[in-house]
């Protein structure tokens, strides 16, 4: 569905993104994670032809995002991070304006259906809407034309938990009908809930591309030790110990990837009083990849 090859964007001497390679399959919900400024929005804006790449290429549904942008956008819905609609319009006028670009029949019916789902008052002026309600308008406009691909840039900012849940349910339901979702976020919990695969972007580069389940299973363990003796960093120079998380007195925790038996052997000389080996949370995995 989306095919990104060696995509780069520089802003003068400043970094944007560097050699991004991604392939997103039809029908999947794909997560794109990274903190603010990592390059998520830059990548998305190139896909949507808002900005032009410095190098590389991107294709959606086999079509070049620059040369065939109009054809692509017939089947793409997009939720921008900043939801600023035309303040001189009311919600109905704005949504009708949006749907008229697609020549959708029974547009009013579709608008009413989606607005009802998000409890959106169609007669209110956009200028008077709260951030949350503007976000709802943004969500509704992206789905009006039943797109095959939905590109979301931080879509839940401003949405209350109830509406987030309605939104996620809607995404799952549309995904089951065949819609592909490209979901960019810095909130790992929502990515974990929805996505099957995830790419982690750091300083403009993809540092990890993995299935969510594999990311958890990938032998990365969180190890916590309690010892009779006071522990110090120098004791923990051992292959597989990737990152010390906390160290205080007799307690230490770290991320470990490697053979558990070897680790247990290594720890046996340390007078361990308590040992916990557990699956790290997705947040911890993310931070691990991000800081390493």
């Amino acid at each position: 569905m989306i095919d990104i090859t060696d995509l780069s964007k520089t802003y003068g001497k400043a970094r944007g993104i560097e050699n991004i390679n991604l392939e997103i399959n039809e029908g999947e919900i794909f997560g794109f994670i990274g903190p603010n400024g990592a390059g998520k929005s830059t990548t998305i804006r190139i896909l949507m032809n808002l900005i032009f790449p410095s190098a590389g290429s991107a294709r959606i549904m086999g079509m070049d995002v620059i040369k065939e942008t109009k054809r692509i956008k017939i089947n793409v819905g997009y939720i921008p991070a900043d939801a600023n609609a035309y303040s001189s319009m009311n919600v109905r006028e704005f949504l009708l304006y949006c749907i008229n670009f697609y020549g959708v029949r029974n547009g009013e019916k579709r608008i009413t259906e989606l607005a009802g789902m998000f409890e959106l008052d169609l007669n209110r002026n956009i200028a008077d809407l709260s951030l949350g309600n503007r976000k709802k308008v943004s969500i509704v406009q992206s789905l009006l034309h039943n797109p095959k691909l939905l590109i979301l840039d931080e879509p839940t900012t401003g949405l209350d938990p109830l509406m987030q849940s309605v939104f996620f349910e809607l995404l799952r339901s549309e995904n089951q009908k065949g819609m592909t979702v490209f979901f960019s976020s810095h909130i790992l919990g929502e990515v974990q809930m929805l996505c099957k695969r995830v790419a982690i972007i750091k300083e403009g580069k993809i540092i990890q591309l993995e299935e969510i389940d594999n990311l958890r299973k990938k032998q990365l363990k969180k190890v916590t030790i309690e010892s009779e003796k006071t522990l110090n960093k120098e004791l923990f120079i051992f292959t597989g110990i990737e990152k010390l998380i906390t160290l205080s007195g007799n307690n230490i925790s770290f991320m470990y990837s490697g053979n558990i038996n070897e680790l247990v052997g290594f720890l046996s000389g340390m007078k361990v009083t308590n040992l916990t080996i557990e699956e790290p949370s997705l947040d911890e995995i993310f931070l691990h990849y991000y800081r390493s």
Partner: protein
Amino acid sequence: MNRNLFLKEMRRNMSSLITWLIVITVLITVTMSVYRTFMENQSKITGMLSLIPKGALQFKGISNFNDLLSVLGFYAANNVIYMMVLGSIFAIVLSSNIVLKEEYDKTAEYLLTRPITRSEIFFSKIAVVGLNLFMLNLVTALAGFLCMELVKKGPFSITSFLILSLYTLLLNLLFGSIGLFMSTIVRRAKPITTIAIGMVLIFYFIYTISKITESISNIGYLSPFRYVDMNVVNPSYRLDFWHLAYFTGISLLLTGLSYRIYKRKDIYL
């Protein structure tokens, strides 16, 4: 061109167009209503006008005091400033905002992500500018024509009037293209209305100074106002080919450059 976008832009600019139409039409009507009084007291007024430096009259396109006795001469000298300066301000404000506003209002992300090309966006928007300027010039010229018909003491050349009206439209279109060009070259998306209005006033100031001060008359050629021939009472008054080429050439050049830049412009919000 995209009909949906064109209609939305026309609706959005309608109130502004109506306001400018009313203002300019009222100014023309009020000024022309003075013509009869002027004619009834022409000997006194001619005496007063003889005290005014020649250059001050020249910049209004008056080569001879008697020019003002013709209704068309009076119209050209007293009203064209409204249509030329105010019309150009309307043109440059409209065109400098019509594309850029989508960026600084952060609505470009909704527009550019629709199935519409940048060419369609650009041409829909300049069609709105063109139609607005055409309507402004048509209505104000009609108002001027009707006023002249009502107050005239003798016949006037309709051809000369039409040529003058065409010059005004061409000047407004030129400033429209300047505004469009300015909006595409700015890096940061923010309103440029003040700069745009300033540009019209600076060009008008250059034109005025060049007309009044003979020693620097050549700098007048830098101003588009210089290329509007206002000497309508001249029997050989005609549409000058080179002036026509100047207006159309620069307008097309700036519009073409704006189009090329906009086609490849990164839209930062």
